[in-house]
């Protein structure tokens, strides 16, 4: 273990340079973010991830945001364990009917001001599962969505761009 720790001191960090905020994402956000709440929150956001029926692909890439390469915490973004600590809900999946109430309750447990980011093609419109008896479809049909990050699944860079836009908007 000592060897690993020692190497960590001597080597350059693996973390990559920050990407520029996504322009489309910025435009979408401009409409939905109020100045007052921005002032109150500053440049730091706590994120609660909610899987509302995803295949787990989106979760894998959201997980990757925490690794040393992307290091999401340097942007003031961190994942929290409870919706009561969160400013942002990151929602994935085609909202299965079995998860609908849990999603609504998580949203209601999140204090205002709050934002909802729908991650992945399923969260946008149900994706390949659209039309199933077991799925509601878009996250926006259940709770108000402020930003969509597309992809199946979106890669960590796309996620990062969207989230940085959320802080900088």
């Amino acid at each position: 273990m000592r060897k690993f720790l020692f190497q960590g001191l001597l080597r350059n960090p693996l973390t990559e340079a920050a990407p520029s905020p996504d322009q489309d994402a910025l435009a979408e956000l401009g409409a939905s973010l109020a100045r007052a709440s921005r002032r109150r929150l500053g440049r730091s956001l706590s994120i609660r991830e909610v899987d509302a029926g995803s295949c787990n692909g989106c979760e894998l890439e959201i997980h990757a945001l925490g690794n040393a390469i992307y290091d999401i915490e340097r942007f003031g973004l961190r994942f929290v364990a409870s919706p009561r600590h969160a400013d942002v809900l990151l929602v994935t999946g085609p909202v299965t009917k079995n998860m609908r109430e849990a999603l609504e309750r998580t949203y209601n447990a999140t204090p205002d001001p709050k934002w909802v980011v729908a991650v992945g093609d399923c969260a946008l419109n149900g994706g390949v599962f659209a039309g199933s008896y077991a799925c509601v479809g878009a996250v926006a049909e259940v709770i108000p969505v402020d930003l969509h990050i597309k992809g199946c699944p979106p890669d960590p860079m796309a996620l990062l761009k969207g989230l940085i836009a959320l802080v900088e908007a």
Partner: protein
Amino acid sequence: MMSLRETMLRGREARACRPWPRHVVDHSVWLRAARELGKGRGDMLGLWSDGAEVHMAILDHETSQIGLLSIDCPEGRFPSVAHLHPPAMRLERAIGDIYGLAAQGLPDRRRWLDHGRWGLRHPGRSSENSEPSGDAYAFLPAEGAPLHQIPVGPVHAGIIEPGHFRFSANGETVVRLEERLGYVHKGIERLMAGATLERAARLAGRVSGDSTVAYALAFARAVEAALEMEVPRRAVWLRALMAELERLANHFGDIGAICNDASFSLMHAHCGVMREHILRAAQVCFGHRLMMDRIVPGGVAADLSEEGVEALRAFLKTAERLVPNFVRLYGDTTSLQDRTVGAGFVRPELARQYACGGFVGRASGRAFDARRLPGYAPYDELNFKFGASTTGDVDGRIWVRFDEIRASLPLIEQILDRLPSGEIRAEASSCGETREGAALVEGFRGDIFVWAKLGASGVVERCHLRDPSWFQWPLLEAAIEGNIVADFPLCNKSFNCSYSGHDL
């Protein structure tokens, strides 16, 4: 005593299901097979329905052969396998939910995937509308003065899939854990019915995102078996390359995540970088980090370029240098092993009874690997080893993952050295009649079973995809008994069962 194999042959052979025979049997033969399974003479590989019949796939221990049994259900009933062979329990509950077929004698009559929120019952058959207000669910009792219950989920504290865990605890010690799943049920079997091969392959690749390669491969192999298609050799080898990359990426991710749940974030950080290295190589090689939709019926959708080969050689070089360090880091950190050794023990009898695959089964002495048995190309031409650790605890499941990493790296090297040239895709076309095919593929989590029925026009009529988690989730309930509540995340992560794959 009649062997399982003889039992299986005691029916009329149905429409050919390739590559394994399917026999339609009567009640008595069906029950005899269930009894033989209960005695441990075979493994149940799957139990599913298409609405009219109920099917069961069995691996006979005596002959090491796979056979399929079917029973007609004209009156909406079939004899329960679960009362003789408990691993069938949740599968029969799911068949009841989706198709409205009642397993007679089923000990647990509660609904499983149907939470009363779909607005209809039995969506796989003639569906009847119902109020989507949600059903009550009676958890099994655990009684005694000092016991208390802890409900957890469906929304969990981490970035993970949803499910509900109901703990009954005596102080810190778990007396009973009961799982309630089905939250991410997406109705995939119904979406499959009538889908084109292309759409069905995309759906199969999204049953469980972490196993997208293995699912796409299992689906493609079932279709190819049904249509008796020849897949170009280069495609077969590229598929194995993708499958081994997926296995490595997940095992690195798992080892890091398990150690992280024991608060050892150093391993998590290093494994996370390794996983990222693999996903980036996959992006260079096949144009998608998780390699979604790259395996299609008939072959593969993306060829490997020189640039891709270089990316993989670079990864192999890094991995060969670092993996021994990771092994030492885990093996030498006794404070970490203090948490993992002895935690979440799975008895070998249970692993055998449930035909539990993957690292959970292997760590408890069940050395099953679908790459060997029934086996499929190109693994018959490659050299590789199994996981060797059999201690059955969290520690054992970590070591099996290390063993599999050390086996997969040389596999990738062999594939790169000997990759055949030529075509990568054959055209999958219908053959003008109804055909059936099945496949068993080794994903990183264990064996995935797929059965598909194709119509004369080439569309999918029915398709069933069985995740390895069906036979692992129940063992987690047993593994946690007597452990403290605080060790549950550690035990759960060492299983890493799929919610989406199970809920389907």
